[in-house]
């Protein structure tokens, strides 16, 4: 928190009042609700994405590159894999691209570095300002949902940075996906700035500007196509480990149990089989919904995931038919035919959060059906596995 406050001060200007301004408590309940405006001056830290600094009426403003460097791309790659994703941030405040003037457009972004990178990399031919809000390192859409990319923070950040003194116009361009957190008419009433919602994707910004700040209908629509889903794969594989690891430990240790209470030999032999099986269920349960989402039967994610489990376990069954020497006892066989669809269903249900079209009401509804089934199926499968040990 202290670090965050220190970062807050980096791009503040001299002209600010001493009065603390309250901003939304926001996403992180532990978050600091007070922004201290009593800063001294802009301190420029060396950052690879900062090209230069320019002197303006409100002090020095960093000018950023519009090409992503190798280290930027590595950073994005790391964030996709979940490494240090919560610390993939930049300092909130004002930045410049190109050679902006008091008439240049102002783009608003989040202080999740990937959001900022996506924006600046599309501004190569545009002279403009970027106002980065403090969203606690969360992307625009998620932060808007939590309210940190929100009306209060936007109004406060305009004041803190002195944007109203920097530009002569009163227009700010927000990403459309910031709209769940920002009330445009309230911003207008309280700060005099008119919010213009730009396109969903930064890649459409140039076309949006050329079209006279008008977005074509397609630019306003969120997609969830193959590529959109594919980039989520690594993070989902990592995020679901919290469910996979305990399940894997239980299934591994279970294999050691027997009439003689515990056998290390069996633990190694059957335990490894269990590990391979649950790992297969886990990887297929994560990958198949991502790959096959539009073509899987059903509308609920838990149903789609159950189908994925069935596909995998059907392949497994086919393998057993071809290789009867690997055929397990009947209770274990049935148990695994239950486990695969259950794991697939549960993982896929959690994929709702990564998707771009599920509603809270819908997810609540599907969970009311799916969760009891998943828990019941898991208990039955566990009992069958234990039965299999003793028969």
């Amino acid at each position: 928190m202290v670090l965050q406050e220190a970062k807050d001060k980096i791009y503040m200007t001299k002209s600010e009042t001493q009065k603390p301004v309250s901003i939304a408590p926001g996403c992180c309940s532990a978050g600091n609700p007070i922004v201290n405006l009593s800063s001294e001056t802009i301190a420029l830290r060396p950052r690879p994405w900062i090209k230069d600094k320019m002197t303006t009426s409100i002090g020095e403003v960093p000018v950023v590159h519009t090409h992503l460097s190798f280290s930027d791309i590595i950073g994005i790659w790391k964030a996709r894999w979940g490494f240090g994703r919560m610390h993939f941030r930049i300092e909130p405040g004002l930045y410049a691209v190109g050679q902006p003037t008091e008439n240049s457009p102002v783009f608003v972004s989040a202080n999740y570095k990937m959001s900022f990178d996506r924006l600046r990399s599309q501004l190569g031919r545009i002279d403009g300002w970027i106002l980065v809000l403090d969203t606690k390192g969360i992307n625009v859409w998620c932060a808007a949902g939590k309210g940190t990319f929100g009306t209060e923070e936007l109004i406060a950040r305009i004041k803190i940075t002195g944007l109203d003194k920097l530009v002569s116009h009163r227009r700010i361009i927000l990403p459309q996906l910031g709209a769940p957190g920002v009330s445009a008419h309230e911003v207008k009433d309280r700060s005099d700035f008119r919010v213009i919602y730009g396109p969903v994707r930064a890649a459409d910004i140039a076309a949006f500007i050329q079209g006279g700040m008008k977005a074509a209908p397609e630019m306003r629509r969120v997609r969830f196509n193959f590529r959109d889903r594919l980039v989520l794969t690594p993070n989902d594989l990592i995020a679901n480990l919290r469910y996979f690891l305990p399940a894997a430990v239980v299934l591994f240790l279970l294999a050691g149990l027997g009439p003689d209470f515990f056998s290390a030999d069996r633990l190694i032999k059957d335990g490894m089989t269990n590990l391979i099986l649950i790992l297969t269920a886990y990887i297929s349960g994560t990958l198949l919904p991502i790959l096959l989402l539009p073509w899987l039967p059903g509308k609920s994610f838990s149903a789609k995931g159950a189908w994925c489990g069935l596909i995998t376990v059907a392949l497994l069954g086919w393998f057993l038919v071809k290789n009867p020497s690997h055929m397990p006892d009947l209770p274990s066989l049935v148990a695994w035919f239950i486990i695969f669809p259950t794991v697939g269903s549960f993982i896929s249900m959690n994929f709702t959060g990564s998707s771009t079209y599920t509603s809270l009401s819908g997810v609540v509804k599907e969970m009311q059906v799916a969760l009891p089934l998943q828990i019941g199926a898991s208990v039955i499968a566990l009992i069958l596995l234990i039965v299999g040990i003793f028969v």
Binding site: M86, T352, G353, T358, S359, L360
Partner: protein, 98 residues
């Protein structure tokens, strides 16, 4: 996106056309083209496409739209149940987030 449709008849979106001033802000902020303009007023044409993000309600100056906004995320709902709070991604300064 046509093939990706979520559960029908679940969303809490409510809209009172009588209050509409025709500003078309809801059309602009909706990521799923739920609204169209008809006779200078907004009209819901695809209610089931709504994901309850709350952008339209938040940006309607006439308060003609209400919706229980939230994240359609099972993980968030599970975390909310465990902590006995509203659905939450559980992202704070330390832990990870959706």
């Amino acid at each position: 996106m046509n093939r990706l449709r979520y559960l029908p008849d679940v969303v809490t979106l409510e809209y009172d056309a009588a209050k509409c001033n025709g500003c078309s802000m809801c059309l602009m902020v909706c990521p799923h083209a739920v609204y169209v303009m008809e006779n200078k007023r907004a009209k819901i044409i695809d209610r089931d496409a709504c994901m309850e993000c709350g952008a339209c309600a938040k940006n309607c100056p006439e308060k003609a739209i209400t919706v229980r906004a939230g994240v359609g995320c099972a993980t968030a709902i599970i975390i909310g149940k465990l902590r006995n709070t509203e659905p939450s991604c559980g992202c704070d300064e330390k832990s990870s987030c959706c």
